[in-house]
């Protein structure tokens, strides 16, 4: 029975993997179903990639993220509502519960309507801040589209983002020359203390966010300026659930997917006369793919550790080691890429690290690539167990921005030397005089016994001084 079940599960898994590493049930929350046609290309792309889309209005009674206490959907896409809230079924608490249950959320904002306060408070929970009056518009007088926003400058043209840091993978680089149109969007600022937040797309340094209702004349106290303004923000929770905020829902509309744009004269003063196609479709695919676990998902395959002291067939994954044993550790890692698992390679300058820890790490060592299979890479290191007995963990705690978290712990006991495992005394040069002493005693004893048994006494003679001589 069990093998049938596992085959069934395997089959299910194969179906699931067609779209995303974590399921393909996607709920699209859209206020008016008629507006679906505006996003038809984007939603069509999603369906073509294997997602099963369900459309619901936030006002509908049927919309429920949980069914009998379990997640009813794997992913959630929220298109900006015109009304003031998202209704009782999509409160910030339920959305957070959805993240805690491992669901991914893609949230889009728009400056056309004030952001519902439910969403503002949800973002606040995650340390993502919106303008306090819930109305903000990102403009840039230096990098706007001269075709569609010659007057209002609210279609900001942003180049493809650079890598967050030199040692972080860039999933959103495209071919580097494209330009992304960010029309009528809301910028966010991010709390500085959370390592879970990652700005995917930052505003150009000349951009700023203002309130189009109140700050018509000029801005004296802007909400946020330049690179501090995040246009697309990613949050990856500790359970690797993903939450992405796209500041401008219009980015995803058909109109902007293949619109031609003409950048204005930037700070550099070099205006381009050529109209270029936006990279919005490709960028939307990458952002959505990242959010819905289609890229940047890591998987651990086999973990193996064993003694490395010249054995031909060492015991694999023993429960116990001795202090100062030489051990070898292997871990197999794969990365999901759109529809398949590929060998995982960390970014240049980054590496996978193994910790050998009891409470705190005693060793933290970089792993080196030992071999590659069609779907995975195998990382290894060998080291000497520290001179301390106790309960230790082989721990791989790989947390990197934009990659799903890996936390693998294998517990082993480390024991003392047994009495017959210490180095023998002849290996210790300092012991040689003492050992020679024992040998001399033995030789003297045997010689003495022989003399006692077989020596013939010699007659005593007296010298003049009265001493005995031979």
């Amino acid at each position: 029975m069990r093998w049938i079940l596992s085959f069934l599960l395997l089959g299910l898994l194969a179906v699931v993997q067609a779209a995303s590493a974590s399921g393909n049930k996607l709920l699209v929350v859209i206020e008016e179903l008629a507006e679906k046609s505006k996003y038809s290309k984007y939603l069509g792309d999603l369906e073509a990639r294997g997602f099963k889309l369900t459309y619901e209005s936030p006002k509908s009674d049927k919309v429920a993220l949980f069914e009998l206490g379990e997640r009813a959907y794997d992913h959630l896409l929220i298109l900006p509502p015109k009304s003031k809230g998202l209704g009782p079924q999509l409160t910030p608490k339920i959305l957070l519960d959805f993240i805690n249950a491992g669901g991914n959320i893609l949230l889009t904002l728009s400056s056309s309507h004030p952001t519902p306060s439910a969403l503002v408070s949800l973002l606040l929970e995650l340390d993502i801040h919106l303008p306090s009056d819930r109305t903000g518009l990102v403009v840039d007088h230096f990098n706007y589209d001269t075709i569609s926003a010659a007057e209002k400058h609210d279609v900001v043209l942003v180049p493809r983002p650079d890598a967050l840091r030199s040692d972080v993978k860039n999933f959103f680089a495209g071919d580097g020359k494209d330009v992304i149109a960010f029309p009528k969007g809301v910028g966010q600022t991010l709390g500085n203390t959370s390592p879970l937040l990652t700005p995917i797309l930052r505003a150009p340094r000349t951009a700023y966010s203002y309130n189009p209702k109140e700050e018509v004349e000029g801005v004296d106290d802007p909400f946020a300026v330049g690179q501090q303004l995040s246009l697309v923000t990613a949050m990856q929770a500790r359970n690797s659930a993903r939450f992405t905020v796209i500041g401008a829902s219009e980015m995803l509309e058909n109109a902007w997917f293949d619109a031609k744009v003409k950048p204005s004269a930037g700070l550099t003063g070099a205006a381009s006369d050529k109209a270029a196609k936006t990279a919005n479709q490709a960028f939307a695919k990458e952002v959505t793919g990242w959010t819905f676990n289609e890229i940047g998902v890591l998987k651990v395959g086999k973990i193996e550790h064993h003694l490395d002291e010249g054995e031909t067939e060492p015991v694999i994954n023993p429960k116990i080691y001795r202090v100062k044993n030489d051990v070898k550790y292997f871990i197999e890692l794969s990365e999901y890429q759109w529809d398949k698992w590929v060998p995982f390679q960390p970014a240049e300058g980054d590496n996978v690290q193994l910790e050998f820890s009891m409470l705190s790490p005693f060793h933290r060592l970089p792993l080196t690539l030992s071999s590659t299979t069609p779907t995975s890479t195998i990382w290894t290191t060998s080291f000497k167990i520290p001179d301390q007995h106790g309960i230790f963990n082989f721990k791989v705690n790989h947390k990197r921005p934009l990659l799903s978290n890996i936390e693998e712990k294998n517990t082993v006991t480390v024991r003392h030397f047994a009495h017959d495992e210490w180095p023998r005394s002849w290996a210790i040069t300092g012991a040689w005089p003492w050992m020679a002493g024992i040998a001399v005693t033995v030789a003297g004893w045997v010689g003495f016994v022989a003399l006692w048994l077989w020596s013939k006494p010699v007659p005593l003679k007296l010298t003049n001084s009265g001493k005995k001589v031979v």
Partner: protein
């Protein structure tokens, strides 16, 4: 960063562009001044130009406040721009902060700040901060943006800067190789060898002294002829016992050694009483 790097050469081009553009933002009557709070005097004052940065760095001390006043113009008519910012950038890290001008309808605007208003990340900058002035507004007019001066922030060496702790970011951590106690080491080999030699040298010394005192094995023949088996067994068992002790040291366990030692000991006891009886006989006979 790509954006920033490409900025410098083209900033020079900008001056030319401003002149040639049909409609553009610019400024006039711009004066930057540094006032020292303690002395109440103006320590520095200079006019800003829209096409070249000041050749001299503007120095701001601990108690100084920096003030810029200017008149923004759109095509030489004074007008209020929507955006009038002064950007301060650390050229090493690319970090940037912004001060917004408070502008009037007439296009006159001012901004003033002290060292306290500059974020600590920029205060600790090694090189002078680049100050960039931005003037821009809606419509087709070309915005103005240019490097206007360098700001040299001199911090007070006596008062410590506000502490800045780098926030947690996920990434590679430093390598650890913790060793509790180094392996024990023996002393120099030459000393061990010398004393080993000295100890071993006592055997020939002992044998030499014995032979000097007249030690001999002359009774061996007599002893073996009168009690050959018991003498052989007794001496053999004494030597075997040493051999057993050696094997116990080398690899035997206690339970391998004990029965063998028992057998050899019994042999030594039985043959010893005979052999030593023979020795006693020789003594009683007056031979020793």
């Amino acid at each position: 960063m790509k954006f920033l790097r490409s900025f410098l050469p083209s900033a020079l081009l900008l001056g030319a562009n401003v002149v040639s553009a049909a409609s553009s933002w610019s400024f006039d009557d711009a004066v930057v001044s540094v006032t020292s709070k303690k002395a109440g005097s103006t320590a520095f004052k200079d006019k800003l130009f829209d096409h070249v940065p000041l050749s001299q760095d503007v120095k701001v001390g601990v108690d100084d406040s920096l003030k810029i006043i200017l008149t923004a113009k759109e095509d030489s008519t004074p007008k209020r721009p929507h955006q009038a910012f002064l950007l301060l950038q650390d050229p090493d890290t690319g970090l940037e902060t912004t001060f917004a001008f408070s502008m009037k309808e007439s296009g006159k605007g001012k901004v003033d700040f002290t060292q306290k208003d500059i974020p600590v990340q920029l205060l600790t900058s090694k090189s002078p901060l680049r100050a960039t002035l931005l003037l821009g507004s809606f419509g087709v007019s070309k915005p103005f943006g240019s490097h206007v001066f360098n700001l040299d922030v001199s911090v007070d060496a006596n008062t410590p800067l506000p502490s800045y702790e780098k926030p947690l970011r996920y990434g590679k951590l430093p390598e650890i190789n913790h060793i509790f106690k180094a392996d024990p080491k023996s002393g120099p080999l030459i000393i061990s060898l010398f004393f080993t030699g000295a100890v071993l040298a006592t055997v020939p010394v002992l044998l030499g002294v014995w032979s000097y005192l007249g030690a001999n094995l002359s009774h061996l023949g007599a002893a073996t002829s009168s009690a050959p088996i018991s003498h052989t067994l007794f001496f053999g068992s004494i030597v075997s016992m040493e051999g057993i002790f050696f094997l116990y040291y080398y690899k035997w366990s206690l339970f391998t050694m004990l029965p063998v030692a028992g057998v050899v000991g019994l042999v030594a006891f039985l043959s010893g009483s005979k052999a030593l009886g023979e020795v006693q006989g020789r003594r009683l006979a007056g031979q020793r």
